[in-house]
Structure formats: C-alpha cells, structure tokens
Symmetry: D2
Subunit: 350 residues, 4 copies
C-alpha cells in the first residue's frame, strides 16, 4: 500500500533491459552516440516538431531550472501558481539557475492558474520601469500539484495571456504522461499548438530511473541550453544510459501504458473513497493523485496497517479527536495494483 | 581500438545486475532508502572515516563544483593547476556554483602542482586587503590530467602548504581508483591522512553509468552540501539507483580490479610505444592514460585502421609532412583488452 | 508644490559646505581617512553601540542588498511585507546580492507586518527539509512604504517572532529619521534594543546627496560586508566625501531637524485634507508621507496648477467621471514649506 | 609629497561650485533631470557619437563590471592583461556582475597586451565546444596599470584581433584623460574609431568626487545596462549630483587641463629620476604614473621626509642593505605641484 509518491516506485523491466542492451561496447560521449541522436528524433516525431531542440537531464528540478534560465534574465519575473514545484519544492533552483529571477505567485483553485488571475499579476508587475523586476515568463504545471489537469484549451487560454504580454510559456510536465492520458490530447496539441514554448517532459515519476527531456519547440536557445546544462554539471558523459531509458519509455507507447495504469488506479481509489460517507475529496482527482480528507481514526487504522502516504499539508498531527478529519495525498504510480488499492480501502474500515 | 576516453566504455555486468536487484518494490526517495544508507556506511568504512559526510551525485562536474562551493565564498581564489579539469573542462561550473570565485592557476610539469609554485601563487594572491579576491582553497587532481599521479607524500606536501595558509584542500578524484592502484596507497592514506578535506570520488570513468561520491571528511558542511545539491538539481528522487551502482562498484573490490585492468593496459601500451624509435612519451605514464608523439604517417595509418583517440592538444591537423610528429592522448579503461592494445601497436607499422 | 518624492529635494547648505571643507588636501582612500573614522565613531555613539560595524554606501538599494547578503545564504527566505522596497523597488537587487534568495511576502494593513502573520509565514516556510528554501531573515521597513511607523514595542514584537525562530532582523531605514521623529524614540531603543541586528540608516531621502550607513550591531559580519561592498563596486575611493555628508547630517542634530520639518509639513497637509468632505486618507499618516483619495476633478485642478505627485497605484488614469476618486501619494521633504502645502490645499478648490 | 594614488587628491573648486549650483530646488530623480540629460548629450558630442548610450555611476569598479556584464554571459571568457584592474583590484566584481565569467590572462610587457599574445590566448580558449567557457570579450586598460598608454593604432590592432573572433572590446578608462593627453588623440579616435565598443570613462581619479561614465557606442544594450545598474544598487536617486560633477569636468576642457597637469608633473619627476645614476625606471612613464627603482637608503630618506607612495609590488620590505634597490609607484594627480615634485627629488639626496 505505497501511496507516498510516484518516485517511490521502481522501473519496469523493459527499462532495465534497455540499459543492458545499451551497454554493449564503446560509444561516443556527451550525447553524440547513435542512440542519443535516435531518441532526439523520436521525441521530435512524437511531438510533431521536427525542428525542436531536445535535451536530456536526470532530474525534474534540473529540467525546470535550465528551461527557465534560457528564457529569463536575472531581473525577470516568473509567473507561476503559488504551489508550483518550482516555487515550493526545488530549494530555489530556479533562482540559482536564472541568477536571481523572482517567482511571482498566481492564485487559482486546485493548483490551476486562472487566466484572469494571471493577467492581473502580469499587469501588476513591472509598471515602474527600471525599478521593478521585468515581466519574464509564465510557467504552468500539467498535471498540477493538486492532481488536476489543464486541457489543451485551458493551456491555450493561459498561453494567450502570456503571449499577449510577449512572455514565453514553460510547462512543467513532471507528470506530463498522466495529463495526456487524462485529457486524451496529443503531445503536440497540449504543448506547442496550445502555445507552450518549452516543456519539461517527465520520465522519472512515470517509470524511469532518472531521465527528463527538455524540449525547446523553437531551437533558437539550443546552444545556450547546452552551455547551461554543462555548466550546471548536468551533461552526462555516458549519455547513452539516459537515452536508453527514454528510448524504452517511448517504445510501443510504454510511457502511456504506465501512466494509464497509474491514472486507472487513482480512479479506482477515488471510486472507493467517494463511496464513503466519512470521506471528502480535497481536489477533483483527474490524473494519478488523490487528495482526500477522512477521520483521524481511519488514518490511524491505515497507518497501523502499514499504508504509506503523506499528510497534506505536512504539519497535521496524529493527535486529536477520532472524528476530526485529516487531509492526505495518495499517489498512484505505474506499479500500483488493484489489489493494493482494494487493500487500502478495506483497511479504512479496520 | 578505443582510446578516446574512459567514458566511452560501458559498465561491467555486475553493475547492470545491481540495478536490476535494486529495482524490487518501493523505496523511500532522495537517499533515505536502506541501500543508500548502506553505501554511505561502506564508503565511510573504506576510508576509515566514520564521521565523514558522503553524498552521491551523477557527474564529476557536479561533484567538483559542489565540493568547492561548500568551502569557497564568491570572493575566494581557488588554486589549481593550469590544466585542471575544473579550469578547462567544466564550462565554468566552479564559478557558477561558488557564485563567482576565481580560479588562480599554478604551474608544474606533467599537470602536477609543485609545492613551491603553489606557495608562490598563494603568497601573490590577496595581499591588498579588500581590493583582492581572498585566498580560498587548493584543488588538486589525482590521477592528473596528464596521466601522472601524486603519492600520499606528494599530496601531503601540497596540503601542508595549503593548511599553513589556512586553506582547505579538495581532491578531484575522477580517476581516483587509477591513482590508488598506481601508488598502492590506501584510500585514507592518500586523502585525509595526507590532508585532503574533501574528495570527489569518481565512479563514472571507471565503470559506472554515472555516479560520483563527494566525501567531506569533516561533516560540518554536510547540510550545506545537501542544500546546494538540491538547489543545483542534483538530488535524485530515485536515489537507490545511484546507490546500487556504487554498491556494486565497491563489492569485492570491483573498482580496484577495474582500475587495475585499465592501468595494466596503459602499461602494456607504454611498453610497446617506448620500444619504437619514432615515438616519444609526452608525459610519464603512471595510471591509465598515455600521452605520446609519433610521426604523422603513423597517425594516418592508425586512423585508417579505425583507432579512436584524440590529438592532444586538439588543434593539430592531419596535414603536414609524414615525419613531423603529432601528439595524442591514449586512454585505457576497465574494458580495454590486451588484444586491443596489441592491435593498436601492430597498426602503427601498417 | 513638489510632493512627488523626498528624493526630488536638494540638500541643505550645511552639506555642501561640508563637502567644501573635506576637500582640503590629500586624504587616504577607501575609508581610512580621519573623517571617515570619526563618522564611524559618531554613529556608534549615536546608537550607543560602541562595537557596531558601520559602513557607508551611496544608495539605499545597495545598503539593503548588502545587509541582507551578509546574513542570507542563497537558499534563504527573507520575510518582508508585500510592498517592501526590497520587494517592489529594487529590480531584484536582494536576489542579486544574496545569490538568489527568495523574498517571502507577509501581509498586514498599512504596509506593516502583523506579528501573527509573520509567525504564520515563517511556520509555513521550510518544513520539508532540503526541498525548500530555508528560513533566513526578517526585514521590516521603518518608516513603511505607506507612511506609517513601527514603535519600538512594535519592532520588538516582530523581532521576538524572528528570534524565536533563530532569524536575524534587518530594518530598512531609508526614512529612519522620520520614524524616529514620529515616535520620539532613541536610535538605540528602536533598533538593537528592540532586536534589530542590522540597520540601513538612510540619509539620501532626508537631505544628503547620496549616503546611507549600514550598521551591523554585531560586528561579526564586518569583514564579509567589506568584501561584498567592494565586490559590488560600492567602496568609494574618495570616501571622505561620503563621510563629510554624514558628518554634516549628524552635526547639531541636523538630521532630526530635517525630518522634523518633513513630518510637520505632512501633518499640516493632513490637517487640510481631513478638513475636506471630498477627501479620504488611504493610510494613517504618521511620518512624512500622506496617501489620500479625492475626486478626479480635484486631481485635474491640482495638475493644472503644476502640483507634482504620483498616483498610487500607478495605473490609475486621468480619464473618468469628475467625482470618482483617485488615490495619490504626497511626500513631504526637509525642504517642503508651509507656503507650498497651503498652496496645494488652496488649489484643490480651484 | 603625496604620490600614493591619484584618488588621494581632492577635487578642483569648479566641481564643488557645480554641486552648489545643481542644488537649487527640486529635480526629477534617477537621471531624468535636465542636467543629467544635458551631460549625456555633452558626452555624445565629445565622442562624436550621437547614438551612444551614456550612463553615470559612482565608482570605476561599478563602471567596469556593469560594462562587462552587458556583453558577457556567465560562461564567457574575458581576455585581459594579467595585471588589469578588473583582475587584480576589484575583489571579483566582474565575476559577480557577469554571474561567473572567467578572466583569461594575457601577457605583455609594461601592462600592455601584445596583439599576438591576445590572438594566441583567444585561439587557445574554447576549442572543445560545450566543455569550455566561450570566448566573450576583450578588455584593455588605457592608461595601463603600469603607466603606459596605447595609441589609437595600438588600440585598433587589439580590436582587430578581437573583432576577427567576433568579440566586442571594452576599454577601462579610469585614467582615460591621461591617455588622451599623452597621445594627443581625440576621444573618438582612441575609442570607437579604433574599435572600442564600450568605454569606462573615468572621472574620479582625475578630479571628481566619484563619477564615471559608461559609454556604449552601440546603444543596443542600453536598457540592459540600466536594469543591471539599478539591480546593482548603482542608480542614484539624486542623480543630478553625479551629472553636476561630470558637467563641470567637461566644461571648458577642465578634464584635459587636470590630466595635463598630472602628466606634466610625472614628466618632471621622470626627468629628475633619470638624471640619477642610482635610479632606474621600471616601466616607461607615458602618463601620470612613474615606476622607479632606487636604493633602499634613498627610500628610507624619502620616508623619513614624509613622502607618500607605495612599494610596488607590495611585499618588499624596509629591511635590507642600503644599496639594494626597492621598486615603487609614484602617482601624480591634477593637484600635484612642481614644488612637490622638486621637494621629492631633493629629499632623495637627503
């Protein structure tokens, strides 16, 4: 019953096998090997973006911070949701990589920025000339931190606000596959066709050891990205092992099947939770994460049964009356099974 | 006949197997899993340093830059050899991670700093108070970029200069295993017992997919290191896969056997080269790299036969008279075979 | 009728005269001249802080950013009010000087942080270990951006919150003199005795050409401050001309007389405004700034008469119905006269 | 007998008077006042560069670091002479403002870069693609740190090397006036007509309290400069007082008369020194600085007589045999008198 995080899961056997295959003989370093080039082309084809610059890194924080740094000078304002990963979970990596840009926080329910709220924050920023930080970029997260998703139309609505002010758009897609499965959109429709300029295309949370692709749909910044990646210590000498993971991920749509399983398990979990009178959903579950509130007594039973998940927010306590609710985050991954979900639901009743 | 770089080699089967074993089930993220903790303890034991802080990262550039940043404020001078990897091959990563420290270059034959030259550079730096950058740290590389090594006594001589001026000492050990095999020293003797304060303990060049350990013998900076690692995007969520590689590396002294093979092949290559009247060694080969100069005609034959290696320095050309010498770098790895070396030597004669 | 900003005013003749006196003959550079040392001692005495480190710079932005940088590592959170100068008016200088710290915004009416709100923001920051920026420092502004002041007791209440969490306290005192006159406190009572660790002691807005003093009540960071100042390009070679200004400023309590005049004029202006049925105060005026809302028709008359002031916020327009109110900021300086105030009030009626 | 530095001198009465005149009434802040605009136009006319962007700052370190930052990304190599002020005397300000660029040191006698040496350093930098810092900019100093000057032709020779590699050229003109007087060139001939892209036009060492102008002959970077200046804390609110100084400096060619006096006094000093059998010039004096070596006994007599100057290099000692030479730097300023020079020469004989 592991619902703590999708990064607690392992990787499917296809990925380990791919590492073994890639291990044969010598290979040019730093991404010049044939497999790395093939993976680049594969991602270009998947996104219907033959000119895109595609670069692999090993962590989502690196992908996001490098992507932002290529578009944001140090005096930029980056508009993002208050609970965005780049704001809350990267120990200031965006500030580090940009040389001190400022994250300007936008409100919106269920971790989604509302276009009006974005418009208002942009307008309120940078009006006093040289005295202010300057409007820089918009960053949105899909799947969001609350387990909701933006449809292509919703992405486009935010991009239009951004572009109207001349700002490029970044999408943090650490859980991009889950959003794609949830919306049924094509990769192109939910990104560049909806106005996204640069994407962090996640692999780690959805079944890889540690690989993310940064896709710059306009390759103008490609060389700058490479310099920033190297300077950040994120250029792998034995780059083929990153490429091999990503290759296996895309082969036969493995990535979509993995995300499909995670989303399906979240749906199964949601069905079980909504059937309970004592449980409330905190956000509408749309991908692989479920945020729910249930009585502390239920929480205690689950803990006793060994269920793993985080209280959300973190600072709730086990102490308190039996019937007072606690909120928690339940994350399904590609490796979550129906049996695991059912066991969790069963343990809620003790 | 691959002598371009030790990072062009793959990894031994034990490492792939270890990834497969580590893949079983769920694991806590970010280094809190049992395997990551066990590897930390294993490195502490190996270095006879039970208090040391041990952190894994995926690249040598990250290891070096993070290690320097923990000891050097932005106004520090880092004393290193003119051809050090941190000066020549990291696109300014040390400057990035330290917030703008200055690398002050020390001379010395065969890529080794001489204690007197180090002393002179330290004394010449920072004498004008607030107007200058301040003396910060000494960084030495073992195995050096020229394929030479420092013995424990030679390390200690440099450390004594550094410590006399109150400066901590970093060792870039991207090829630490090769230096250890070459000198026969223990890990402790050639590091903290010789005055080294922080070590980049390399794995990637010697048979891993991408793992280096940063070992801070005094753990006072451990938390700062963790924050800098996270902020740099170098904290792996699925940390167990870094740990699994390092665990396999250390198991049964695999790492020393790998380095032993590389060094032995370099010795075999050296023997063959020194037997030739038309060939000269550029640096004394002491580990797994051989720098040699031979006639351009020989170079052309080797190229025609498919031998892979770099001209060193890079800017030499194929054009020129047959008998004019070219200089090249020949790197042996754990996977270099005697047959490969012998074929190389045979092709020199056409 | 100049109410645009206190930095639009000139300097009193005493200050120009002091520059002339300081100009005699040679002087040691970089703050080692006798006048610079005397001014340092004078500020120590004024603040009853004989050990304090005192450094002069030429701008308020430099003073604030350098002060923060000495206490905040790049991964720090700086807690300040949403409208603080360091957040809104320095083009990211705090982020630049700290190497990318994050300003975390606290709410509170009239630009004053409430202790409870500060406590809540601190508690909500940094709870997830290495993933978050770390709690770093509290910065408060006195006189605030809304023309209100903190009393010594109010400063102490905020400092207690900060210190309970181990955080040092910075006071942005660009209008420190106005706050002092308004509260009647002593310099020591409203700073270090109330828990302030480092003060930006403003001179420019209150009658100098361009001098601020940064006072570190604990001198432990003095040398770091000096290095950061030099590295920031803020160490004046002909330092005596900064010192001469500050010396004239303190001589015979000139600085308090200047601030007293500014505050008195704001009071006179407030009296006239509150006597009007069509005018409303936006914030309670407590020092030298008055924020008022009056009908657009009044605004048009004032503009036509040549009155200088800013609409606040900036993005209001002249267009609109005659009776709809506009908000504006009216700043009095040491050189504002009663005649000027009275003329302004008279023009409101046309 | 003050020969320690030209920044130890005061300012001519015209400059103090100009401050008094500028002090009348209110003025728009941040450089929008009429005097600031007039000074901008005056410098454009002086340099025959009607499109140039002109910005004032208060220190030479700020001028240099901001100028470099506008042209150099963090991964740039800045080519400069080993003893350049930006390398030796700014505590790493260029690294700070550029976000970590690397200063690559060029050799050349008497602090002048030789075109061949510059060419060689450029060629040796950045040949390995993403692994290296990238060629960024060339910075030369005129008057140099050794008191020598570059003629327009010599500047052009270096610029041609730079431009052939696509690199812009910065001139550190902290002592620009002295170089101009020494060469008899026009401001345009020795700067943009000789290929200089951006100039730090010094005022402080030649008679101002603290003002330098940064002149970007191509205004494309003007807005970036303004943002960097503000973010660096170098935008003065009461900007008129910087402008007033610069205005007085240019009025009636005051600046050239001041530099002419300094150079003439250095010439007089040189004549006296070369007449002595026991004294040797270390560098050929071409502007306002004289580097000379004379017996320690002479040095002792001068010290006893109260002469002020620095040993150069710093780390020589007073101890030693009477006849062993010491090297020193003797700087003349606009306020140095013939009587002072003659007294110095007289005291050499006791």
């Amino acid at each position: 019953m592991h619902f703590a995080s999708d990064n607690g899961s392992g990787v499917p056997p296809e990925v380990i096998a791919a590492l073994g295959r890639a291990n044969d003989g010598f290979a040019a370093g730093y991404g010049a090997d044939p497999l790395s080039l093939a993976v680049r082309d594969r991602l270009r084809a998947l996104f219907e973006a033959p000119q895109a610059a595609v670069h692999l890194v090993a962590t989502g924080t690196a992908a996001n911070a490098l992507a932002l740094a290529c578009y944001c000078p140090p005096w930029a304002a980056v508009f993002c949701h208050r609970v965005a990963h780049i704001e809350e979970d990267e120990c200031g990596a965006p500030e580090f990589y940009t040389g001190g840009a400022k994250l300007v926080l936008v409100e919106g329910s269920d971790a989604r920025m509302a276009p009006d709220a974005l418009e208002a924050r942009i307008k309120a920023t940078g009006g006093a000339g040289v005295h202010n930080v300057q409007r820089g970029m918009v960053s949105l997260t899909n799947t969001t931190e609350a387990g909701t998703v933006y449809t292509p139309a919703e992405v486009a609505a935010l991009s239009q606000v951004a572009h109207r002010h001349g700002l490029p758009v970044h999408m943090d897609g650490a859980r991009f596959a889950n959003a794609l499965v949830a919306t049924g959109a094509t990769p192109a429709d939910i990104t560049w066709r909806a106005g996204v300029d640069v994407l962090s295309f996640g692999g780690t949370k959805n079944g890889l050891l540690g690989v993310e692709a940064v896709i710059l749909f306009d390759p103008a910044k490609a060389w700058e990205f490479e310099l920033r990646r190297k300077r950040g210590g994120h250029l792998f000498s034995k780059h083929r092992y990153l490429a091999a993971q990503m290759d296996a991920y895309l082969e036969g749509d493995l990535w979509l099947r993995l995300a499909g399983q995670a989303n399906a398990m979240a749906e199964r979990l949601t069905a079980g939770l909504t059937a309970r009178a004592d449980t409330r959903l905190v956000h509408p579950p749309q991908a692989n994460m479920v945020f729910a509130a249930f009585p502390r007594a239920v929480h205690r039973r689950l803990q006793a049964a060994g269920a793993k998940y985080y209280l959300w927010p973190f600072d709730q306590t086990l102490e308190g009356p039996d019937d007072a609710p606690v909120s928690c985050r339940l994350v399904c991954s590609w490796s979550t099974t129906a049996a695991e979900v059912d066991a969790f639901l069963a343990h809620m009743d003790g």
